[in-house]
Subunit: 248 residues, 2 copies
């Protein structure tokens, strides 16, 4: 049983300010992870106020690249600072977390398709460690480097590792319908396209509609939930919204 | 034309002390690299007083492993501190160096054989960056993590990238014969086995005999030379000892 879990940047950092950890929320997430009885867990965290600030400064996104090494170092080192805090907090709580830096093991081809090497992640998992990846900049054929989001890493990991469960712990309690109620289960995009809004439906980069579309293609169910539900997810339950396109 | 160049840990750090950069020698190496007209260059550096101190503390070597995450973090973070200094000095001198952390992209199987993922390195090279890898700890099937040496990384990179030239810049001016003279060229192990000493001939981990044996198996010539000869190597010459087993 392999689980890939993302901790959103909006959970573990403060939205306002530069490179500020949200201590209460990170502490809560770490506590739930330390109390969970779970093996073969891979964590991915977003950038929050560590990554986005620096990426904006250099106008770098998942599609807009740069060949400026200063941009690479500024963004990558900020993400490593956040990763180091997350990894150390987890270890202090007894979770054998070790860092895996995405820039070192991923790249995009000219079409933007992501290749994520997992030789390190797979062997670390087999040896009982909890690899912790993160949003980052990565080499992009023809564009220098571009941003890779935590969500993209989750999808690539889930596919490469043939994960059994995928969790996305973020600032929202699930996928919301037009009345802001959590949709408990999504098995096809058509069933929720209207609720997610037409304008959103064409956004494949970061919006909820794009995220739902991508998670529907996985060979495993994915749960989208808020921080309060992390313990339930780690206990094997399906809080928030379950996205499962395997029947299609 | 792809070049893989190792800067020995004994060159860029002070042997005595803990985590001390050898500023004059690092500055000299960086200056030569900044003045070189060379494309598709991958750098690898050893650990010197950054890596060995921490590895010794936890009794970790290329064959003796640990599952202690504190050991992983202590050794890996020390190597990242050294790598960050090297990468920044290079950038300050105009070399577009970017870090690639070996723990994130390599592992060993149960027999100790190294797999080094190069998707990031290859795309970074193609985009004009100079990837800088380093000796590190990596996941090792059945043993937790073990040390990977800069020399091992050089060999793996040279093979994966089908490198045209390999350079090892270290504290010695080349491979020395029994009279301490530099041997200009080695094309077979038999021709130098006696000069390298019988006891050394069985050492495959770090001794010069083991290094020569491994470099003879590459599909490219390898030059072993001292810091004073780095500029000559970067200019396309073959200072020190040339090791070329391609005729065998």
């Amino acid at each position: 049983m392999t689980t890939v879990l993302k901790l959103g940047g909006s959970i573990i950092t403060e939205k306002e300010g530069v490179e500020k950890i949200h201590e209460p929320r990170l502490g809560k997430a770490v506590g739930m992870l330390a109390n969970a009885d779970i093996s073969r867990l891979v964590l991915v965290h977003g950038g929050g106020s560590f990554g986005h600030h620096h990426a904006n400064k250099y106008d770098v996104s998942t599609t807009d690249g740069t060949h400026d090494p200063d941009a690479v170092l500024d963004i990558h080192e900020a993400m490593k600072r956040l990763n180091e805090v997350v990894v150390h907090r987890l270890n202090e709580a007894g979770v054998p977390a070790v860092p895996v830096h995405t820039l070192s093991t991923a790249s995009r081809d000219a079409a933007g398709a992501l290749t994520l090497g997992t030789t390190a992640v797979e062997t670390l998992l087999a040896e009982g460690f909890v690899p912790v990846l993160h949003g980052d900049v990565i080499a992009h054929e023809g564009k220098g480097v571009t941003v890779v989001s935590g969500d993209e890493i989750v999808t690539a990991l889930a596919q490469s590792l043939d994960a059994d469960r995928v969790g996305l712990c973020s600032a929202v309690p699930g996928v919301l319908d037009a009345e802001n109620n959590v949709i408990p289960e999504i098995t096809s995009f058509e069933s929720v396209a209207q609720a997610l809004g037409e304008s959103d439906a064409t956004d494949v980069s970061g919006g909820m509609a794009g995220k739902v579309r991508e998670l529907l293609t996985l060979g495993a169910p994915a749960d989208i939930f808020g921080l309060d539900d992390l313990a339930a997810f780690l206990a094997g339950k399906s809080p928030g919204t379950r996205i499962d396109g395997r029947g299609n």
